[in-house]
C-alpha cells in the first residue's frame, strides 16, 4: 500500500509531518523524528532576532491536552540557518518562520533560503507572543499580504499556518489569494489554567495555547471548512495521536497531517499512524485519494 502524498508542492513518502515547535530546535532532534517515521518535519518557528521565550512553566499537561506559552524562543535566523542546513536529508524540511509584518517575514525567509529548506510555513497564529502571530492571522488582508510577499521572495512552496477561527475559511481564502501552496490548520487555541492553591495562573506567561486531544474536534471542523472553500491543499493539525484521528482529517479533506503534542506519549507516533492508515486502507481495499474528502459529500 502506497502512502506517497503530494502536498503543497512537496512529495512525501507518507502524510505524517512533525508540527512546528515540537522537537524542532535543532537538526539532531529533527533527524531523530525522521527516524521515527515522519514523512516531513517542520522546524521551530524562527524570527529576526534571538528570543529566550517566556519564563516557566512554559508547558503544562491538562486533563485533556497541553497548555503552552513558550514565547517563540529561537536563536534568530542568523544562527538557525546553519542548523537548517544540517537538518536537510531524507525527507522534506519545512522552515517555520514568524515576524511582526510582511517585511520581517521576508527577511527571515530570505535569510533561511541559503539553507534551501524544502518549503516555508508562515506562523501567522502563535497565540501568546505580543505583536506576532494570531493578531496577524485573524486579519485576511494581512494574511494575503504576508503570503504574497514571501511567495514572491522565495522559490519554494509556501504554506500558511492559521489560528482557529470561527471564520477560518475567509482567512484561508486570503492565504490562497496571496499565493500560498497550502494552508495548515490549526495552531493552539488561546487558553489558560489557574493554580487553586495560590491563585496564580500556572503558565509563566499567564495565557497560552491549548493543544492535544482536547482540540481535535475544533481542528477537524476548521479543516473541513477550509477544504470546502479552498482549491489549495489543506494540512490538518490539532490533537492527532492515532491513525483514526488521521483518517478523520483525511476524510474531512486534508491532504496531510501534522503531529505535535502526541510525541509526548510516543515519539514513534509517526510510524504507528502510517501503519494504522495502511492497515485501514488495506482492509477497505482503497487508497488515500479514495477516502480523502468523503465527509464533504
Amino acid at each position: 500500500m502506497d502512502l506517497t502524498t503530494d502536498v503543497g508542492g512537496l512529495k512525501l513518502k507518507n502524510p505524517t509531518i512533525l508540527a512546528a515547535g515540537i522537537l524542532g530546535t535543532g537538526a539532531a532532534s529533527l533527524k531523530r523524528v525522521v527516524q521515527h517515521g515522519a514523512g516531513a518535519v517542520v522546524t521551530k518557528s524562527t524570527g529576526v532576532s534571538p528570543r529566550e521565550g517566556h519564563p516557566g512553566p512554559v508547558l503544562i499537561k491538562t486533563e485533556h491536552g497541553f497548555l503552552n506559552a513558550m514565547g517563540l524562543p529561537n536563536p534568530s535566523y542568523h544562527e538557525f540557518v546553519r542548523e537548517l542546513e544540517m537538518a536537510k536529508g531524507d525527507v522534506p524540511v519545512i522552515a517555520s518562520i514568524f515576524g511582526s509584518d510582511a517585511r520581517e517575514f521576508e527577511e527571515v525567509a530570505l535569510g533561511l533560503s541559503k539553507a534551501s529548506p524544502d518549503a516555508f510555513e508562515l506562523n501567522l497564529s502563535c497565540p501568546h507572543a505580543e505583536g506576532y502571530g494570531a493578531t496577524l492571522g485573524t486579519d485576511p488582508r494581512k494574511v494575503k499580504e504576508i503570503a504574497k510577499t514571501v511567495k514572491n521572495a522565495v522559490d519554494v512552496p509556501v504554506w500558511v499556518k492559521l489560528p482557529p477561527l470561527a471564520n477560518i475559511a475567509e482567512v484561508g481564502l486570503a492565504a490562497q489569494e496571496g499565493g500560498a501552496d497550502a494552508v495548515v490548520a490549526i495552531n493552539t487555541i488561546p487558553a489558560m489554567a489557574i493554580d487553586v492553591e495560590s491563585g496564580y495562573p500556572i503558565l509563566g506567561n499567564k495565557v497560552g495555547g491549548l493543544s492535544g486531544a482536547a482540540i481535535k474536534p475544533v481542528a477537524l471542523r476548521c479543516v473541513y471548512e477550509l477544504c470546502a472553500a479552498l482549491n489549495i491543499d489543506v494540512i490538518g493539525v490539532g490533537g492527532i495521536s492515532s491513525w483514526k484521528d488521521a483518517i478523520e482529517f483525511i476524510m474531512a479533506g486534508a491532504t496531510a497531517i501534522e503531529i505535535g503534542s502526541a510525541v509526548h506519549d510516543d515519539i514513534n507516533v509517526f510510524r504507528n499512524i502510517s501503519k494504522g492508515i495502511m492497515q485501514f486502507l488495506e482492509k477497505r481495499r482503497c487508497t488515500l485519494d479514495g477516502i480523502r474528502g468523503v465527509a464533504q459529500k
Binding site: 539532531a28 516557566g56 512554559v58 513558550m70 524562543p73 492553591e197 510516543d266
Partner: protein
C-alpha cells in the same frame, strides 16, 4: 538508551503542591529544601519546581523528599527566600535516573553535582555495593554532602584552592586509581569535569561503564519542545536522560557546547 517510547515513570504525574517542611544550609551557596512528601523517584531523576510567579526549574532529588539547590540566578534566589511553611509546586519525578549495577562503583562529583549522587551512594551501600567517591568543589566549605559520602564508603576530596583535600581539579584524583577495579562509574558536575572523566574512562576502555547526568536548559520537561536535545543523537535530556551512558556521549556535543534558552549554541 534509545527508547522509542519513553518509559520513565512519573512524567504523567500531575503537579502537586509541596509545603517546605525544613531547610538545611549545606554550604555557603547551597541549601536543602525538604518537601514534606516522598516522591517515588530514583537517584538521578529530577523534578520541575515551580516557584510561583518566577519560573519553573529542574532540580535533582538529593533525598527521596528533598532537593538541594545552589543559588545562581533569579529562580534559585527566589527559592532561597522561601521559608519553612511556604510552598512550591512540584512535577515529577522526571527522567531515567542512574542505573545501579555491579559490586563496586566509583562516583565523581563536582559542586552541586554531588546532589543526585549522594542518594545513589546510599542506595548502593544499602545493597552492599562498595562505594568510592571523589568529591570536588571550589573551596572546602563548598564540599557538599561530605558526611553522606563518607558514611556510604570511601571518600576523597579535592578543592580548587586546596583548603581541603587535594588541591586541584577532582578529576586529577583519577590518576591514582585503577578504573578497572570498578564495575560502574557515575559522574555529575560541571560538564568540563565530566568530559574529562569520560576521556579517562575511554582511555581505560571503560566508556560503556560510565553514566553521566547532564545539565541542559530544560523548558517543558516533557519531551515536547526540543530545547534540551543533544547533538548528534537528538536525544532529549529531560525524558531520555538526564543520565546517559558514556558510550552515547562519545563524539557528541558533550563537553564542547550546549544551548541556551533561545536555542543558540554556547561553548562550554
Amino acid at each position: 538508551m534509545h527508547p522509542g517510547r519513553y518509559q520513565g515513570r512519573g512524567t504523567e504525574m500531575m503537579p502537586i503542591n509541596a509545603r517546605i517542611t525544613r531547610i538545611v544550609d549545606e554550604t555557603p551557596s547551597t541549601k536543602t529544601f525538604f518537601l514534606g512528601l516522598t516522591l517515588d523517584g530514583k537517584p538521578g531523576q529530577f523534578v520541575m519546581v515551580w516557584i510561583r510567579g518566577v519560573d519553573d526549574i529542574p532540580m535533582s532529588l538529593s533525598y527521596p523528599d528533598a532537593i538541594t539547590v545552589q543559588k545562581v540566578g533569579d529562580a534559585t534566589s527566589a527559592l532561597f527566600k522561601l521559608r519553612k511553611g511556604d510552598s512550591v509546586r512540584i512535577r515529577g519525578p522526571i527522567g531515567n535516573g542512574f542505573t545501579l549495577s555491579g559490586k563496586s562503583i566509583l562516583l565523581i562529583a563536582g559542586g552541586v553535582g554531588a546532589a543526585p549522587l549522594a542518594p545513589l551512594a546510599e542506595e548502593a551501600k544499602g545493597k552492599k555495593i562498595k562505594v568510592k567517591t571523589l568529591l570536588g568543589a571550589k573551596t572546602g566549605d563548598e564540599l557538599l554532602f561530605v558526611k553522606r559520602y563518607r558514611s556510604a564508603g570511601d571518600l576523597q576530596t579535592a578543592t580548587d584552592d586546596g583548603s581541603e583535600g587535594y588541591k586541584g581539579p577532582v578529576t586529577e584524583l583519577l590518576d591514582g586509581l585503577d578504573l578497572r577495579e570498578y564495575d560502574q562509574i557515575y559522574s555529575c558536575g560541571p560538564e568540563k569535569m565530566m568530559s574529562r572523566v569520560l576521556e579517562v574512562a575511554k582511555g581505560a576502555n571503560m566508556a560503556s561503564k560510565t553514566q553521566f547526568s547532564l545539565q541542559r536548559y530544560i523548558k517543558c520537561g516533557m519531551g515536547i519542545c526540543g530545547t534540551c536535545c543533544i547533538d548528534p543523537s537528538g536525544l532529549r535530556v529531560c525524558v531520555d536522560g538526564p543520565v546517559f551512558s558514556g558510550e552515547t556521549l562519545v563524539d557528541s556535543e558533550f563537553g564542547r557546547y550546549a544551548r541556551d534558552a533561545s536555542g543558540r549554541k554556547v561553548r562550554l
